[in-house]
Structures are given as structure tokens and as C-alpha cells.
């Protein structure tokens, strides 16, 4: 489904070249729940940014369903992200002035759906994440765990083919982290949602089907999880 071939990224700091990712290749299959793990500076966030079309690779290609998306221009990438991808960020990244429902409806509205369609799709995903009673609340009125669940709902509303999560539990305590990961597990198992998640917490592994360990910009290990 997603084929990553010889993916590389080198940052230039003045005259100094810093390789963040060095010719990485692997495949992601539909329904995978993959953990990208590794120490700081290993290239896991860079990998997520490249896979999520937030950055351009220096080398290599990313093929999604047979289409090389690494060569898309800025507008095409924006449109692709809107229709095919979902994102969850470390700090929830909700729009402060929008209610829970409006935050979730946002990307559906951007697709040109009618208000009724947006509302229906949004309430559906909000009921999945257990926030159907908080529709009119503003983000500041929610706990960190609840905000992250809103972010999950927002990432799900357009039925993306893949969902990217960048250390989504970094700002949460263990209980809330577990609640969020349980949510991921539910949407992965019940809806078949493909998820790629960056994490540095060893105990998160129990939720992943597969863990890709990165070190110095290369895959150190690609292991299936026993669960």
C-alpha cells in the first residue's frame, strides 16, 4: 500500500550538511499499526514528516497505492493531506476559537461537504472517541486527554487511508496516554485504520503490530510485535 524506497533527507546548516535519514526503505500495509521508535536525533520525526508530505525528501520515493506522491507540488500535497491523510500532534493542535464539533468539522468543511454531512461525520467520530457530550466545548474547557481525543476525531473525519501520530502521548499522564492508545487500537482494529505513530515510550510497544527502530537515520530493526 505504501512503499518507501531509498528515502533520504539531508538538512543544510550553512555549509554543513546534516543527514537526518539515510536511504530508508520499507513498506506499510493496510491496517498496520506501526510504531516508529528510536532515540532523539534518530530520524523518526523526519520520517513521519516525509511520509505525511509535510517535507520534501532529498532522495528516494514514497508510493501510495502505486502513485509516487513525493513529487507532488505544494497545492497537490495540501489536497492529498486533506483527503487521504490524518494527523495527530504532540500538543493536540486544536484551533482555540473553535468548539469541539467545529474543530472536527473543519477538514470536512474544507472538502466542500454540506454542513449536514460535516455534522453527521463529525458526530460519528466524536461518539467513537467518547466526546459526544462535549460538542460545544472549547478546547480550553477540556483536559489534555480529551483534547487529544478531539484531535484523533479530527484526523478521522475524512476517512484517511493513513493516520500519522507524532508522539501523541508526550503531554499526557499514563492514564490518559493509555486512553488515547486504546482509542488508536479501537479504530485500528474495528475500522481497519492504518496508523503510523512516533513514540519513545517502551511500554507503547504493546499496542503496535510492528515497531521500526531507527538509529542515526537508518532502520536498526523492523520487528513484528507478538500481540
Amino acid at each position: 500500500m505504501i512503499k518507501i524506497s531509498d528515502l533520504g533527507k539531508t538538512y543544510r546548516l550553512g555549509v554543513v550538511e546534516v543527514p537526518a535519514l539515510r536511504g530508508v526503505s520499507f513498506e506499510i500495509h493496510r491496517g498496520d499499526f506501526i510504531g516508529l521508535m528510536g532515540p532523539s536525533g534518530s530520524g523518526k520525526s523526519t520520517m513521519l514528516h516525509l511520509l505525511g508530505l509535510l517535507d520534501y525528501p532529498t532522495t528516494g520515493t514514497i508510493e501510495i497505492d502505486g502513485i509516487d506522491v513525493s513529487g507532488l507540488d505544494d497545492d497537490e500535497r495540501t489536497d492529498y493531506r486533506l483527503r487521504k491523510m490524518g494527523y495527530i500532534f504532540q500538543d493536540y493542535a486544536l484551533v482555540a476559537e473553535l468548539t469541539v464539533l467545529e474543530n472536527v468539522m473543519l477538514t470536512a468543511m474544507a472538502q466542500g461537504k454540506t454542513e449536514a454531512e460535516c455534522r453527521l461525520a463529525s458526530t460519528n467520530v466524536l461518539s467513537i472517541v467518547g466526546l459526544i457530550n462535549r460538542l460545544d466545548h472549547l478546547p480550553k474547557e477540556l483536559s489534555g486527554g480529551e483534547q487529544q481525543r478531539v484531535a484523533i476525531a479530527r484526523s478521522m473525519v475524512n476517512r484517511p487511508i493513513i493516520l500519522f501520530a507524532d508522539e501523541p502521548c508526550a503531554n499526557l499522564d499514563t492514564a490518559n496516554s493509555r486512553a488515547v492508545l486504546d482509542q488508536f487500537r479501537t479504530i485500528n482494529e474495528e475500522l481497519g485504520q492504518t496508523i503510523v505513530m512516533v513514540s519513545h515510550e517502551e511500554w507503547h510497544k504493546e499496542y503496535f503490530h510492528r515497531v521500526i527502530h531507527l538509529k542515526d537515520g537508518q532502520i536498526e530493526a523492523d520487528e513484528k510485535q507478538p500481540n
Binding site: L54, D79, A93, A96, T107, M109, A110, L138, S155
Partner: protein, 404 residues
């Protein structure tokens, strides 16, 4: 097309929510600033327009009437006055014609000498044509057939302390005082001052009037000549059309509307005021652009990370840019409405307490054309000032923006 509409709808939604649920203090401050800028854009031109209107009104009301008939070129007087008046007063649209007949003379009072023109009028006609009778500072206006009396302007009467006078005067003449007049034909008369008028027009307050009968007495024969005939048209009549009707009656003398009389010099003055207005408007717009630019720049910089995230989740940069443009446009509309309330209050205030100038009381003239033009200019300037910083931030690289 559909995509554009979708993006604009989402922009409006984001912009509106940002205003509704954003910082209320910032919103109020921006609206007040735009309102003040708008007021500033309108106020100075309105004062200048008020000054121009005052000058025009003074000219029509006290000096020329709506139309003035002057002698043919190379002639000093209009002949066959009675025949002319009879014809003019029959022209549709003419309310009344009032003849003037000037004679030179030197006025004397307690050692002060003041040369000037003494104008003969027919008070019954004059009160229908000019407004000087309503501007009596002291005493009374001339009555039909008055002899032995004279009506003088405030600048002729002057002050006992001549340093208070703006131009040569008789040094403090009051109603009831007697002044001697030595006419250019050698006749010398003593007149009792019946009244002193004050129009605040530098062109009118140096004038001196006697009745037609008194002039005939001075000249020693009936006077069927005039140096000018002032015409008041019926309110609402088109002055230019009345002028054409007068020409159509076969009147050979020079017929000028008040506008013709003010002529090229007046047009140049109006043009100069127009330049001042334009400079004032440009300065106000630059202030508005800078203020709005800074407000939106601060807002976009504060929201830089959010802008990056919106782009990351697939919101097009045009949508993000226009969400700020819509905010500015809404702020501009609110500011303009606020400014209109200020202008309404100023209009009420200055209608009761006009700005006092030596040459008259100026009431700022708020014209619909000025208000609409400046509102449109401010609206466009605001949209541009909002667009630029939003566009700059929205086109930034996603990851750079997301780092905040």
C-alpha cells in the same frame, strides 16, 4: 469555482470565529483605531468643504445673488435700468432683481478719512435679493425712501483703537453718529448712521449703502442706470437655466451666475483645497494600513504555529490568508460604522457650536460622496493591509511555521 467558494466559505467561518472568540480587547482597540482613522479622513475635508461652502454662501447671500448682471464690456453702467428690471422680473424663475449704483466718495469721521464706494440700493428689492438686512450688528436697515441716513459695514465702522481693525476704518463709528461724505462729483453730505451690519465677509463688510432716492439727490437727477443688477432666483430653480432664459430675453449686458463670478480663481482655490484633502486622505490611509498591518502581523505571528498546523491538516493557504482578510474586512466595516457614529456626533455638535473663524462660522460639511469614497478607500486599504502579513505567513514552509 466550487473549490473557490468552499475555500472562501471556510475562510469566512474561520475569520468570524476568530473575531467572536478571540481577544475582545484587541478587537475593540482595532475597531476604535479604524473608526478614528475614518473620522480623521472625513473631518478635515469636511472643514475645508465647510469653509468653501461658507465662502460661496457669503458670495451668493451678500454679494452677487444667484445671478448678477453687469454692464456690457467697455461700459461702466447699465442703461435703461427700469426697462431691464421690468424684463428681468418677468423671467420665469426670477424671484426679484435688485439694482446697485455705485459712486466714489471719501467718508470722514472725527479726523479719520476713508475713501470707498457708496452703493445705492432699493431696500424693498434688496431685502428679497441679499441677506444683509438680516445681519444687522446694531441699528436698523435702510427703509424705502430714506434720505439723510447711511448704512455701513462693520469694517468701515471700525474700532476706536485702530490697532484692532483688520483694514482702514472710520475709527469706531456707532449707530446714530454722523459722518460726512465727499462724493466724487463734489457734493458733500452729512449722514446719520442708521445701522451697522456684520456679515463676516471681507468682501461685504467694507461696503456702505444709501437709498436710491438719496443717490438721485446726490447726483441731482433721476437715476436710470445701474452698475450692477443682482438677481435672486426662486428656490429650487436651476440658476444656469434662468441665466439662459435671461439671455433668451435679449439682454445684452453681461449675465453671470455666482459660479461665473467666482471664476477661475475660485476654481483654483477649490483645486488647492482638493490637494490638501488628498494629502490628508493619503496620510490617514497610510496610518490605517500601518496600524492594520501591525495588528494582523502580530496576530499571524502569534498564530504562526496554528497556521502551520492548519496547513498540515490540509487547509489550503488561500483559505488561511483569506480568513485574516475577512477578519480585517469585518473590523473595517465595524470601524467605519463606529466612525460614522463619531461623525454624526460631531455634526450635531458643530451645528450648535460652529467653528468660529474671522470670516464666518464654519460648519463642517459631511457629504455623502466624501463618506462613501473614504469608506471604500479605507475598506480596500484594510483588505490589502490584512492580506500582506497573512499571505506572508501562510506561504511559509509548514515545518518552520509549526515550530512557531
Amino acid at each position: 469555482m466550487n473549490e473557490t467558494v468552499t475555500r472562501l466559505k471556510l475562510s469566512f467561518f474561520l475569520g468570524l470565529r476568530s473575531l467572536q472568540r478571540g481577544n475582545i480587547g484587541s478587537l475593540v482597540m482595532t475597531v476604535v483605531i479604524i473608526g478614528m482613522v475614518f473620522t480623521n479622513m472625513i473631518f478635515l475635508p469636511s472643514v475645508i468643504t465647510g469653509a468653501i461652502n461658507l465662502f460661496v454662501d457669503q458670495t451668493i447671500e451678500y454679494q452677487s445673488g444667484d445671478i448678477i448682471i453687469e454692464p456690457k464690456e467697455n461700459k461702466e453702467v447699465i442703461e435703461d435700468l427700469e426697462d431691464l428690471l421690468a424684463r428681468v422680473n418677468r423671467v420665469p424663475g426670477v424671484l426679484r432683481a435688485a439694482p446697485h449704483n455705485d459712486i466714489g466718495g471719501v467718508m470722514k469721521f472725527k479726523g479719520s478719512r476713508l475713501p470707498g464706494s457708496i452703493i445705492a440700493i432699493r431696500p424693498r428689492d434688496e431685502v428679497l435679493v441679499t441677506g444683509i438686512s438680516k445681519m444687522m450688528r446694531e441699528g436698523q436697515y435702510l427703509g424705502e425712501g430714506d434720505t439723510g441716513v447711511i448704512l455701513i459695514g462693520k469694517l468701515v465702522a471700525g474700532n476706536k483703537d485702530k490697532s484692532e481693525d483688520l483694514m482702514p476704518s472710520l475709527g469706531g463709528v456707532r449707530t446714530g453718529d454722523s459722518i460726512d461724505v465727499e462724493f466724487t462729483n463734489g457734493v458733500v453730505r452729512t449722514y446719520r448712521v442708521k445701522g451697522v451690519f456684520e456679515t463676516k465677509s471681507y468682501m461685504v463688510d467694507p461696503l456702505v449703502f444709501i437709498t436710491w432716492e438719496e443717490m438721485e439727490s446726490v447726483r441731482g437727477h433721476p437715476v436710470d442706470q445701474a452698475t450692477a443688477v443682482l438677481i435672486r432666483t426662486v428656490p429650487g430653480e436651476d440658476v444656469e437655466e434662468v441665466k439662459l432664459s435671461l439671455i433668451g430675453m435679449g439682454i445684452q449686458e453681461q449675465i453671470k451666475t455666482w459660479h461665473d463670478l467666482l471664476g477661475k480663481a475660485f476654481a483654483e482655490v477649490v483645486q488647492s483645497y482638493g490637494v490638501i484633502n488628498s494629502i490628508s486622505t493619503i496620510v490617514s490611509i497610510v496610518i490605517a494600513i500601518v496600524v492594520i498591518f501591525i495588528v494582523i502581523m502580530i496576530k499571524t505571528l502569534n498564530n504562526r504555529r496554528q497556521i502551520g498546523i492548519l496547513k498540515a491538516i490540509g487547509i489550503h493557504r488561500t483559505t488561511i490568508t483569506f480568513s485574516y482578510v475577512f477578519q480585517v474586512v469585518i473590523l473595517a466595516v465595524m470601524g467605519i460604522i463606529f466612525g460614522l457614529f463619531i461623525l454624526l456626533a460631531l455634526d450635531r455638535y458643530f451645528s450648535v457650536f460652529p467653528i468660529v473663524f474671522p470670516d464666518g462660522d464654519i460648519r463642517p460639511a459631511f457629504t455623502l460622496a466624501d463618506i462613501v469614497t473614504n469608506a471604500v478607500l479605507l475598506f480596500i486599504a484594510s483588505a490589502i493591509a490584512g492580506f500582506i502579513p497573512a499571505w506572508q505567513i501562510a506561504r511559509e514552509d509548514i515545518l518552520t511555521a509549526m515550530r512557531g
